[in-house]
């Protein structure tokens, strides 16, 4: 990744490295396999195996080298590596199971395996359970939302070199300021077109338009 704070020579080197690391896993095997076929055709199957082995040996060296470099922090980290996916919480999974159960219930009834009395009773139970979970999840999310917003605000204000910050569209000058919605008063992102609280259209042209 290009870091705007370092000098140009280093950044172009990094850019090259990224290009190479992207191209090699695709091009390398193709070249080796073609060469192996050529060797089998021109010489014999033994030579072709040798070519393949050579290619694989290069792959071994390449990946292990990349691994060690990542470990000592020399290799640049790509965005999708940096973006750790938040795994679902236990409550979310429970919610999914209950939703699935509700769906099954419908299916089971449509197949005639469940009579109406049982269906109503089970459905009431699962629905109330699901609702409880939904509420719980929402409650859990509230504090985290605030933390995330604080992070984003800090990143936008500080101009930090993190990948996420750079991917975000430039907020021309007023990085830290977040416009409030005219309808409900919720603070929104600088480039928001609609309010995330009430869904109303945000007033005026966008800052970066």
């Amino acid at each position: 990744m290009v870091d705007p704070n370092t000098d140009n020579a280093a950044s172009s080197l990094d850019a090259w490295e990224e290009r190479i690391t992207r191209a090699l896993p695709v091009l390398g095997p193709v070249v080796v396999v073609v060469a192996a076929f050529a060797a089998a055709y021109v010489v014999d199957i033994g030579a072709s195996l040798l070519v393949l082995a050579g290619g694989v040996l290069l792959a071994v060296i390449g990946t292990l080298w990349a691994s060690v470099r990542t470990l000592v922090g020399e290799a640049p980290t790509s965005l999708d590596v940096a973006l750790a996916l938040a795994a679902p919480t236990a409550a979310e999974e429970q919610k999914r199971a209950v939703l699935q159960a509700l769906k099954d219930l419908e299916h089971e009834r449509s197949l005639g395996k469940l009579d109406d009395a049982d269906y109503t009773e089970l459905k009431t139970r699962y629905r109330s359970q699901a609702k409880r979970l939904l509420q719980e999840l929402d409650r859990d999310l509230e504090p985290r939302r605030a933390v995330a917003e604080a992070w984003v605000a800090r990143a936008l204000a500080g101009g930090s070199a993190s990948a996420a910050a750079r991917r975000a569209p430039r907020a021309s000058g007023d990085g830290g300021k977040r416009p409030a919605c005219g309808g409900c008063g919720t603070h929104n992102e600088p480039d928001a077109r609609f309010c995330k609280g009430c869904g109303a259209k945000m007033g005026g042209p966008r800052a970066d338009a």
Binding site: D44, I45, G46, L49, L50, L52, A53, V56, L57, A59, V60, T63, L64, S67, V68, T70, L71, G73, T77, D80, V81, A84, L85, A86, A87, P88, A90, E93, Q94, K95, R96, A97, L99, Q100, A101, L102, K103, D104, L105, H107, E108, S110, L111, G112, K113, L114, D115, D118, E121, L122, T124, R125, R127, S128, Q129, A130, K131, R132, L134, Q135
Partner: protein, 856 residues
């Protein structure tokens, strides 16, 4: 030629070891929540995998260039072998097959690591760590005990010994890799289970993650076992497809536990129950695959499959002990998190039925496991050698298998959670009617078709148990035909109800309703197709009861009648190619109606390399009703008289058709939910694997009749034995041939010279009026108690059926206890909770939205 190729290969092996150890260390650190280290671990895993590939390539190069300095190459190949068979030699022997195991594991690891990219942040490091530990074990094993690159002490030879001709055939090219693919595939779900235990994330995440991996492994276990059956049937020449060989047993054990898991994971997914049980099943499946590998390699129990006895058994035992200790420790540690939130609404529900299904499948597995290792156990604990032959299994297992088969249909009738009495009655009417009609038809017409509903089964024990077992076994065809019809109708009914419901609610036509029904619930309807395949296979298994075996010798032009066929010997014919002389004995087959059914061409191949040991080539004429299976014993050069063994095996083709349906159903169940491009590596892997497997299997079936000519195979125990007297048969199935060469075949099927002699002696004694018991006692006195195919029903040896029976009873007790506990929890449980507060409407709307999103 490199002078140091073997050294290089060995270096690569050590390289794999170091790299796997490095990746293991890095991934454990990554498990403490460091994304950078995780990335390093992923790269390290790729590097390790590539290195294993390098090792395989080096060994392949050594084979291709005939580097006979390497002991393994010299032992399993020679200069005359074609490149394809040289490839087979990679897994033909012990050391190479271990490397092959490692190679497959690394392919799986590569696919899995690629697939995990960007998800399972917490589980991922531990999955990689577990897989690396397994790799490390195999590396250590090879480096210190079974090194495929070890050089011969005597230096390079001029030519190698060549691959065992028994292994030089089409099935040996694909049967072990298919089975290994299934075996090794169980490592991925295991890695997920361990990762879930370590991180404590024991909810549905890991289940969802490894469901398709397990299905994939299960599919290949099925294919591998089916190919093994085909191989035995087509190549070994004893007329059957499953001989209850220890290695066959070991290969089917993980299949049972994997099947149990595929069912019980649905219970956890939907109900949050059986959490501990699912972890146990996944781990058990993996442990059984390692156990199977151990059994094949340690020579613990005599088997036709065994590799030469070697010292690696102790390594496997230690690894197994370590594995089990680690698993038990982790489970006990995490027990509080594994508490189920389970609650069962009704005993008449699919939830409860799955419990019973698991109990039954595990019961069969336990039974087979105990019987397989029984010879060793009886020797250690009771100091009484014993052998468990096919006769034992054939008497005990069909009833148990049929019970599971019956459960399969009954469980399907039930719905999740609760089934109303009327609904159940409605669902049971048609299947019961169908089952009863087929059973009646079987009684009326069966005997006329040569398939009586009740047949004479030999008794394996004296006394009450023997009589009961014999009674049950002899009515099995009738019960089987009832449940075949019952299950078929149950499954058809499921489809038709679903299709009709969709046609009603969505106004679709039949075809599109069926397509969208299956498309929306692939696991369920794919599973039903698998069940249908099992039904068809059971039809085939039932045919076993009606086999007819005959032996005769004929002059050219003479005819011979077996069952409903007349066989006419046309005369011998000789063909010669570079490596062998082939003597065919052509037989024309005509059925009772006078139709020409076909021409069978059984043969003897005499290889130049082994002129003294001609090989026997089976010839078969397949049809849906029966297979005509012809083997030629020997052909006299002067008189042209040939001896033939003819088996009429009814319904065998149904098994292969059933297997194809099973594969098709598994493919439907595994078909990725999202578009292929989005599903990523695993989607492609699954689809590609599924398509190839179907194509390969279909291709093999298609070329099956032609192979009789194309094959260059040998059969160690070709031919059969003519036994017309039922009393004789009852005795012969219980005595094992003691030539020491043909592993564990009973006198009733073994055709070696020694068996001939033993049979003649026994027959002479019977003519003299010696009682059956006296003959048996005499035989035991001569050869030891290990010479009986069925361990005698006395003293400690009763453990062979008492232990599994007690285990099954214990299991049943647990099932009842668990169900009652859940039921009680439900009855006193939180009933319908208060229907929300004031905000109910908002949340109702949100809930409906989420439900809609789930549908989309």
């Amino acid at each position: 030629m490199w002078t140091s190729l073997p050294v290089f290969g060995e270096l690569v092996l050590f390289g794999v070891m170091i790299s796997a150890a490095y990746t293991l260390a890095v991934s454990i650190v990554a498990g403490q929540g460091r994304p950078r280290w995780l990335e390093a671990a992923r790269l390290g895993a790729y590097g390790t995998i590539a290195m294993v590939g390098l090792a395989i390539l080096v060994l392949g190069y050594a084979f291709v260039t005939h580097d006979f300095r390497i002991r393994y190459v010299a032992h399993y190949s020679d200069r005359s072998m074609t490149p394809t068979y040289l490839l087979t030699a990679l897994w033909g022997g012990q050391d190479g097959s271990l490397l092959w195991w490692l190679f497959l594991l690394s392919i799986y690891t590569g696919a899995c690591v690629r697939w995990m990219h960007g998800r399972f942040r917490e589980l991922q490091p531990w999955v990689i760590a577990t897989l690396m530990t397994i790799m490390l074990f195999f590396c250590v094993l090879m480096a210190f005990a079974a090194n495929p690159f070890a050089t011969s002490v005597a230096g390079a030879r001029l030519d190698g010994e060549g691959l065992n001709p028994l292994l030089q055939n089409f099935y040996m090219i694909i049967h072990p890799p298919a089975l290994y693919t299934g075996f090794v595939g169980c490592a991925i779900p295991f890695a997920f289970a361990i990762a879930a235990l370590i991180t404590g994330r024991l909810d549905d995440e890991w289940l969802a993650a490894c469901r398709n991996w397990m299905l994939f492994a299960w599919l290949f276990l099925s294919i591998g076992n089916a190919l093994g059956m085909l191989w035995a049937y087509e190549e070994l020449g004893w007329g059957g497809y499953w001989g209850w060989d220890p290695v066959e047993n070991a290969a089917c054990l993980p299949w049972f536990t994997a099947s149990a898991y595929v069912h019980s994971l649905m219970v956890q997914e939907r109900r949050g129950m059986l959490k501990v049980w699912n972890v146990v099943l996944v781990c058990l499946t993996f442990v059984l695959t390692i156990f199977g590998t151990f059994l094949t390699r340690s020579g613990l129990i005599a088997s036709v499959h065994s590799f030469a006895q070697s010292g690696i058994g102790t390594y496997f035992l230690r690894f197994l002990a370590l594995l089990i200790a680690a698993i038990v420790g982790l489970i006990v540690w995490r027990l509080p998190k594994l508490r189920s939130e389970g609650r069962i609404e009704s005993i008449w529900s699919r939830d409860a039925a799955f419990l019973v299904n698991n109990w039954a499948l595990l019961g069969i597995a336990t039974f087979i496991l105990v019987a397989t290792v029984f010879p060793r156990i009886s020797e250690w604990l009771l100091s009484q050698p014993s052998t468990v032959g096919p006769t034992f299994y054939n008497a005990w297992l069909p009833p148990v298998g049929l019970a599971v088969f019956a459960l399969m249909g009954l469980g399907t009738v039930l719905g999740w959670r609760k089934t109303s009495v009327q609904a159940m009655r409605r669902a049971l009417v048609l299947p019961t009617v169908a089952g009863t009609s087929l059973a009646l038809a079987h009684i009326v017409f069966g005997a006329r078709l040569g398939m009586p509903a009740i047949y004479a089964k030999e008794r394996i024990y004296d006394g009450a148990i023997g009589v009961v077992l014999q009674r049950i076994d002899s009515v099995l065809p009738l019960i089987a035909s009832f449940f075949v019809a019952f299950n078929t109708v149950v499954i058809t009914q499921e489809f038709s109800i679903g299709v009709r419901a969709r046609m009603r609610t969505h106004g679709e036509g039949i075809a599109s309703a069926l397509a969208s029904l299956v498309g929306r619930a692939r696991h369920r309807y794919g599973g039903y197709v698998v069940h249908l395949g099992v039904v068809v296979m059971f039809v085939g298994f039932t045919g076993w009861a009606f086999n007819v075996d005959k032996e005769t010798s004929l002059k050219p032009g003479e005819s011979f009648r077996v069952d409903r066929y007349t066989l006419t010997y046309l005369g011998p014919r000789m063909e010669v190619d570079q490596s062998k002389r082939m003597i065919f004995a052509d037989v024309s087959v005509v059925d009772d109606a006078g139709h020409q059914v076909g021409r069978a061409t059984p043969a003897k191949f005499i290889y130049k390399r082994m002129p003294d040991a001609p090989t026997t080539e089976v010839s078969m004429i397949h049809s849906l009703r029966d297979d005509v299976y012809v083997v030629v014993g020997n052909v006299s050069a002067e008189s042209k008289v040939a001896t033939f063994q003819v088996h009429i095996n009814p319904l065998v083709s149904w098994i292969w058709v059933g297997v194809m349906m099973l594969i098709f159903g598994a493919v439907i169940a595994m078909w990725p939910e999202t578009a292929l491009a989005e599903a990523g590596a695993s989607g492609w892997l699954r689809s590609a694997g599924a398509v190839t497997s179907v194509v390969v299997f279909g291709f093999m079936l298609a070329v099956a009749p032609a192979r009789a000519f194309a094959q260059s195979t040998s059969s160690m125990h070709a031919g059969t034995v003519q036994i017309d007297d039922p009393k004789e048969r009852e005795l012969f199935v219980q005595l094992l041939c003691e030539c020491g060469d043909c592993a564990r075949l009973p006198l009733a099927t073994c055709t070696c010279g020694e068996a001939d002699q033993a049979r003649a002696e026994v027959r002479a004694k019977m003519r003299d009026g010696v009682s059956v018991d006296a003959i048996k006692a005499d035989y035991v006195q001569r050869y030891g108690s290990g010479a009986l195919a069925v361990p005698p029903n006395k003293g400690g040896l009763r453990a062979i059926y008492l232990v599994p029976a007690l285990a099954a009873l214990f299991g049943a007790g647990i099932v009842v206890f668990v169900v009652r506990k859940w039921k009680r929890k439900n009855d006193e449980g939180d009933g319908p909770p208060p229907a929300g507060g004031g905000g109910a409407d908002v949340w109702d709307a949100k809930l409906d939205e989420e439900l809609k999103a789930l549908d989309g």
